[in-house]
Every structure is written in structure tokens, then in C-alpha cells.
């Protein structure tokens, strides 16, 4: 344990704290010269409309991913937890996208989403021409197109965690509830949901953190475009550091993102833990 902790501290914790120091300098990321500027980089954030817009985009994406991904994951878990013969095949089928690297799936979907791509062709083929869209080129739609890919990819991941929770519930409890006359909805709400509380906590925590850090899929599919419509905090951090030569400012935004993740996930964890205790 101790060696692992020491390694983690040496490679992650200490450098992270040291790196945070850049947020208080004017370093451009390449010049040997840097000066201490106090909170200037953080003050700059207040006038940066692109960063402010990115905060809204990030929160919207995180909320949508958390709600939809977990709802689909739970429904899939309930489905493949049944006694149908093909359940193992279906489990693998739904989980498969989660094992592919996000960059690869993002490239794949970029082609599927193209104006003349497979998705629009499919809609045309089934007579839904009116549903054809410029999925990644329409600023009102682009973020949701990217979010949909994340949900498609990781719903199976949520499913596996829910499935583990479902399989830990003894079958006798279901049967007893059924004998007592509880229908499927009541059985889920009063029997399954309380016992799934730990799985719900893990899934919600993971998807909120993943949503707040959203980068790969956005970068591959839109690079934050069109016109910044899909810029998240992570893409803004990348652009400031590597395209604008504003390394210190980028680090300041990264610090803000870190605070975001810590605060939101802490509040969420406290709430969910209380729910778990109440359910127990």
C-alpha cells in the first residue's frame, strides 16, 4: 500500500500541486521567463466570454450525460437481468462500445454524422427525409450530437455496474414482493431501487465527473465548433495552453475545473450517501 501511495503522490499529487502554481504566473508555456502575477489569471476569467460559455456547455453536457446515460444503463441492466436465453450475448453487445477508445468511436460517428453520411442516408431510406440534419454543423444541435455519442458509448458501462447491483439482490425478495401483490413498478421502487443505491451512487459519480471533463469526443468531432458551440472547459483549457500560448491562464481554468469537479462530486456524494443510509 505504502509504495503505491508514494508512487501516486510522486507522480500525481505533488506535480499537480506544483503545477497549480503556474496559475499564479504569466508563463506562456515555452519562455524560460515567468513572473508571479497573483490572481490576475483568475480575474481574466471574469471577462472571458468563451470560458463562461464553456462552463454552461460543460454543465449542460454533464447533466444530460448523467441523466440519460444512467437511465438507459438501468433499463438495459433490468432487461439483460431477465431470464431470456440471449442475455449474455446482449450484455456483451451493449457493453462493447465502452471498451473502444473514445477517440475511435468519435471518428466513427463523425463520418456517420456527416451531411451525406450513414445516419442521414438511413433516415432518407426509411422515408424520414424531414429528420435529416447537419448533426455536427448546426450550432444548436452539435453539442447534443456529441453528447449522444458519449451516452451511446457508456450506457453499457453503467449497465454493467447496475447489473452487478441487481445480481446481488436475492431472488427470494423479488418473489416475496410478487407474492405480496406488488407490480413491476412497485417492486422496482420499493425493493430494487433501495438495494441498488450503492450502484446508483457509483454510476452517478462516474458520469458526472466524466461529463465535466468531456474532451476527446468534442475534440475529434467538432474541435469546439461550430463557432465555439461545443467548447467545454477542457477544450478551452487545451486551446489556451497549446493554441494561444496562454499556459498560465490555461492552468487557472484547469484549477477552476478541478474545484468544480471536487465541489459538485462532493455535494453529490453527500446527498447520495444520505440516500443510501435512508434506504438501508
Amino acid at each position: 500500500m505504502l509504495p503505491a501511495l508514494a508512487f501516486f503522490a510522486f507522480t500525481v499529487l505533488v506535480p499537480s500541486v506544483q503545477g497549480g502554481w503556474f496559475a499564479f504566473t504569466d508563463w506562456d508555456g515555452i519562455s524560460p521567463v515567468k513572473h508571479f502575477v497573483g490572481l490576475d489569471q483568475f480575474r481574466k476569467l471574469l471577462d472571458d466570454t468563451a470560458a463562461r460559455d464553456a462552463v454552461v456547455t460543460t454543465l449542460l453536457a454533464a447533466v444530460a450525460i448523467t441523466i440519460v446515460q444512467n437511465t438507459i444503463g438501468l433499463l438495459l441492466a433490468l432487461g439483460v437481468n431477465s431470464r431470456i436465453k440471449s442475455r449474455n450475448v446482449l450484455r456483451v453487445f451493449f457493453f462493447a462500445p465502452a471498451v473502444i477508445t473514445p477517440v475511435v468511436t468519435a471518428y466513427l460517428w463523425k463520418y456517420l454524422y456527416a451531411p451525406d453520411g450513414a445516419l442521414n442516408s438511413l433516415l432518407g431510406a426509411v422515408g424520414l427525409d424531414g429528420w435529416k440534419q447537419d448533426w455536427l454543423g448546426d450550432p444548436d444541435l452539435a453539442l447534443w450530437s456529441v453528447v449522444a455519442v458519449v451516452i451511446w458509448q457508456f450506457s453499457g458501462y453503467s449497465m454493467v455496474i447496475f447489473l452487478a447491483g441487481l445480481q446481488s439482490i436475492p431472488g427470494e425478495i423479488y418473489e416475496a414482493a410478487a407474492i405480496d401483490g406488488a407490480g413491476p413498478v412497485r417492486r422496482f421502487w420499493y425493493v430494487v431501487r433501495p438495494m441498488l443505491a450503492p450502484a446508483i451512487t457509483i454510476n452517478l459519480m462516474l458520469s458526472v465527473i466524466g461529463g465535466l471533463k468531456l474532451f476527446d469526443q468534442v475534440w475529434v468531432m467538432t474541435q469546439g465548433g461550430p463557432g465555439g458551440a461545443t467548447d467545454t472547459l477542457s477544450t478551452v483549457i487545451y486551446k489556451q495552453a497549446f493554441q494561444f500560448n496562454q499556459y498560465a491562464y490555461s492552468t487557472a481554468i484547469a484549477v477552476i475545473l478541478t474545484v468544480f469537479v471536487i465541489v459538485i462530486s462532493s455535494v453529490q456524494y453527500r446527498y447520495l450517501s444520505r440516500q443510501e443510509r435512508n434506504s438501508a
Binding site: 454543423g137 477542457s234 500560448n245
Partner: protein, 421 residues
């Protein structure tokens, strides 16, 4: 240097801790072979491989290890490597000042070796010195001369009954001819940010720089703004072309790759592109396809038409290189007539240094003629005061096409980027 290394490592770790893959990169890597390490953009793979092969043949005792990366990755990785003292010995450096790994940014930080004494330095054309030199000293070896114009398939142009336009009105008329034949004149992949700049750079070469050749100097000196310049007319022209149906219908959802394919498949007559894209269009269209190139006219006075043309690929030598002699030898080879010819021939471009024996791709004839007549204008971003302007421009064009901004908004955002720290 030790401090820098520690700082770079810690900053990378912070990035990794905060947003995972955003900082990760496994390209332009560290060799460890003990030989000369060269890093180049992956778009230059074909010509660079050929140059390295020729160099190895000439210098069998020098071991050369070459790595390639996409532009974004190369720029970000190079910066990290340079500040941590692990950078390659020779690497791609962008001329001028337009991006994070451009000459003036790297030289200012002291990462580039002085190449003024190399034989090629004396051959650099006067017009290219502003983007290849700093304070009269040469820090990069310019390798190719690249243009931005309309690359088109001659057969498709014939199909729509058109000919190369010489004036703005000709150009608008040609859009109509293409439409009537169920095609678009130009494929446009504005989903890919760097593509967004090509059309208005082409128009600005005439609209802005014919009347104000020193616009960029004025901009840097704070004596000019985008808002109060002919850039306003340039953006109007860009949108006018869009309104007239000259471009792919869903340009914001169309990528660079798709735009090239559209030309190759005859859905579009041509594409406004850098001339280094000619080999790719040719490859997709087939060896039989005959390609042409024309400067995008932006005025009804044909004689006013200019074309963006500038040093494109360029390489610098790491000032901290442990193989300085070999690195300079390699840079000199890149600047030699043999190196330049190989690079230009394999890359479908022109040599950056005068070379009368070079036989260019016929598609480049009009670029060569305009270069000889002094009708080229350096790529705009190469002389802009900072890299943020180009990025602001990318975003502004996408917003204009999405209808989320006005021309006034676009120009103001570029002005704001000009004066920002």
C-alpha cells in the same frame, strides 16, 4: 534546464490530473537511439521520407530517426519537449508568428540555432525574409513555397461549360453555371477549423493587400484594425459566395476529407485549398484526372488579382541539440537544390529557394507565373501579431456561416484578439 524540466513535468501532470487525455500525446517522440532525431508534420510524410532517404544515402554514417505528428499534436508536443530539454534535433517550425510553434515564438524563447552561415541562407528571397528571419538572422530553413487558390478538375469545369474566372463577376457567374448542372463550384469543409480561413485569405490577397500591402505592419503597430479595413469587404464577399450557392450546402458539417472527395467524385468543380493538397486530390481523382489552379478573383480589375503564396514547410535546429553538427548538416541538405527538389517534387509544391532546374507539377503553372510577377501575398496569419487572431478568425467564420454573428461581430473579435495579451 533542470528547473524547466521539473516545471514541464509538473505542468503536464497537472493537466493529466485535471483533464486526462487532453494533454496526452505519444507522437514526435523521444528516440533514444543516439542518432539525429527529426520531427515533422504528418502532412509532410511523403516528401520528408524521400529527403531522409536521400540524406542517409549521402551520409551513411549518420543515423536519422524521423517521427511524424498531426499539426496540433506536433505543436503541443514540441513545446513541452523544448521546455523540458527533450526536443528533437531538427523539427518543423512554422514561418512567421501565426501559431504556437512559429519562428518568432520559438526564437524569442531561445530554442532555435542560428543558421545564418548556412549556404541556403543567402538564397532566401527578400519577400520571404520577414517570415524566416529575426533581427536579420536566419533561424529556419524554408523548404517549400505553397499557394492558396482554387484547385479544380478540368473535366468537371468543362462539363459545366465554364472557364477559369478572371474577375469577381466571372466567379459569381461560374457558381450559377455549376448550380445549373447540379454541382457546386467549390467544396467547402468548414467543419475543420483551418479550412475556414482559405477562402477569405484568397479574397483578402486582392481586396486588402492590393491597396494596403503593409496592412499587417499597420496592425502590429496599432495603426489599423480589422473593423476599419477592407477585411470587412472580404468577409462580405465570402458570405456573398455562400449566398450565391458557390459552396457545399452544409459547409459547417463537412470535413476537409469530404471536401477533397467531393472534387474527386465530380460533385464539386474544385476546392479552395493550399497547393499541397494537389497530390491528395490527384490521388483520389485518379492519375488520369487533369487538375488546374487559379487565383480566386475578388475584383473586376483582373490585373489586381493576387494569390496567397508563402514559405510553407520550414525546419529549425534545436539550439540545445546534442548532435549540432549533424543537425546543421541535415538542415543544409534541406536547403540544398537536391533536398529542395526532392521535397517539392514529392509534395507537389515549389521549392522555397530559387531553383531553375525544378520541373513543377503543371497544375502549379499559374502560381509560378504569379510568383514571378510579384503577385503573391504571404499567408496572412504568418505576419499577424499573435496566434490568437487566427483562432479568433476560425471561430468567427464558423459563427458567420451558422448565422450566429454579424460581420461586425467577427471583425471585432479579431480586433480583440489582436490587442489581447
Amino acid at each position: 534546464m533542470r528547473t524547466n524540466r521539473l516545471l514541464a513535468t509538473t505542468s503536464a501532470a497537472l493537466c493529466m490530473a485535471v483533464f486526462g487525455t487532453g494533454c496526452s500525446s505519444d507522437v514526435a517522440g523521444s528516440g533514444g537511439s543516439g542518432g539525429l532525431r527529426v520531427a515533422a508534420s504528418s502532412t509532410d510524410r511523403i516528401p520528408m521520407d524521400a529527403v531522409v532517404a536521400a540524406f542517409r544515402k549521402k551520409n551513411p554514417d549518420t543515423k536519422v530517426e524521423i517521427t511524424y505528428a498531426d499539426t496540433d499534436q506536433l505543436q503541443s508536443t514540441l513545446r513541452t519537449q523544448l521546455s523540458s530539454g527533450t526536443a528533437p534535433d531538427v523539427f518543423t517550425v512554422w514561418p512567421g508568428n501565426g501559431n504556437p510553434a512559429a519562428l518568432q515564438i520559438l526564437q524569442k524563447a531561445g530554442y532555435l540555432a542560428d543558421l545564418s552561415k548556412a549556404p541556403f541562407a543567402a538564397k532566401i528571397a527578400d519577400g520571404d525574409k520577414s517570415v524566416t528571419q529575426v533581427d536579420g538572422k536566419t533561424y529556419i530553413v524554408p523548404v517549400t513555397f505553397n499557394g492558396i487558390g482554387a484547385i479544380y478538375d478540368k473535366e468537371t469545369l468543362q462539363e459545366i461549360g465554364g472557364s477559369e474566372p478572371r474577375t469577381w463577376d466571372d466567379l459569381i457567374g461560374l457558381c450559377g453555371k455549376a448550380k445549373r448542372k447540379g454541382k457546386v463550384l467549390f467544396a467547402l469543409g468548414n467543419q475543420t477549423p483551418w479550412i475556414t480561413q482559405l477562402v477569405d485569405y484568397s479574397l483578402a490577397a486582392t481586396t486588402v493587400y492590393t491597396k494596403t500591402p503593409d496592412f499587417d505592419e499597420q496592425l502590429s503597430a496599432g495603426k489599423a484594425t480589422f473593423s476599419d479595413s477592407a477585411w470587412r469587404d472580404t468577409l462580405k464577399q465570402y458570405l456573398k459566395l455562400n449566398k450565391e450557392g458557390c459552396f457545399t450546402k452544409n459547409a459547417l458539417g463537412t470535413s476537409y476529407e469530404t471536401s477533397i472527395t467531393d472534387v474527386a467524385q465530380g460533385k464539386a468543380v474544385g476546392v479552395v485549398q493550399v497547393t499541397t493538397s494537389i497530390p491528395q486530390v490527384q490521388k483520389e481523382a485518379g492519375a488520369d484526372a487533369e487538375l488546374g489552379l487559379f487565383a480566386l478573383p475578388a475584383s473586376n480589375a483582373a490585373a489586381d488579382t493576387r494569390i496567397p503564396g508563402a514559405v510553407s514547410a520550414a525546419y529549425g535546429v534545436n539550439a540545445q541539440s546534442k548532435h549540432m553538427a549533424d543537425a546543421k548538416k541535415f538542415a543544409e541538405f534541406l536547403g540544398s537544390p537536391q533536398g529542395q527538389e526532392i521535397y517539392a517534387e514529392k509534395g507537389g509544391t515549389l521549392p522555397a529557394l530559387p531553383n531553375d532546374s525544378f520541373k513543377a507539377d503543371p497544375a502549379l503553372a499559374s502560381l509560378i507565373a504569379m510568383q514571378k510577377n510579384g503577385k503573391t501575398v504571404p499567408f496572412m496569419d504568418q505576419r499577424w501579431p499573435n496566434p490568437k487572431i487566427q483562432q479568433a478568425h476560425f471561430t468567427a467564420i464558423q459563427k458567420l456561416f451558422a448565422g450566429d454573428a454579424t460581420i461586425d461581430d467577427a471583425l471585432k473579435s479579431m480586433d480583440k484578439a489582436t490587442t489581447s495579451q
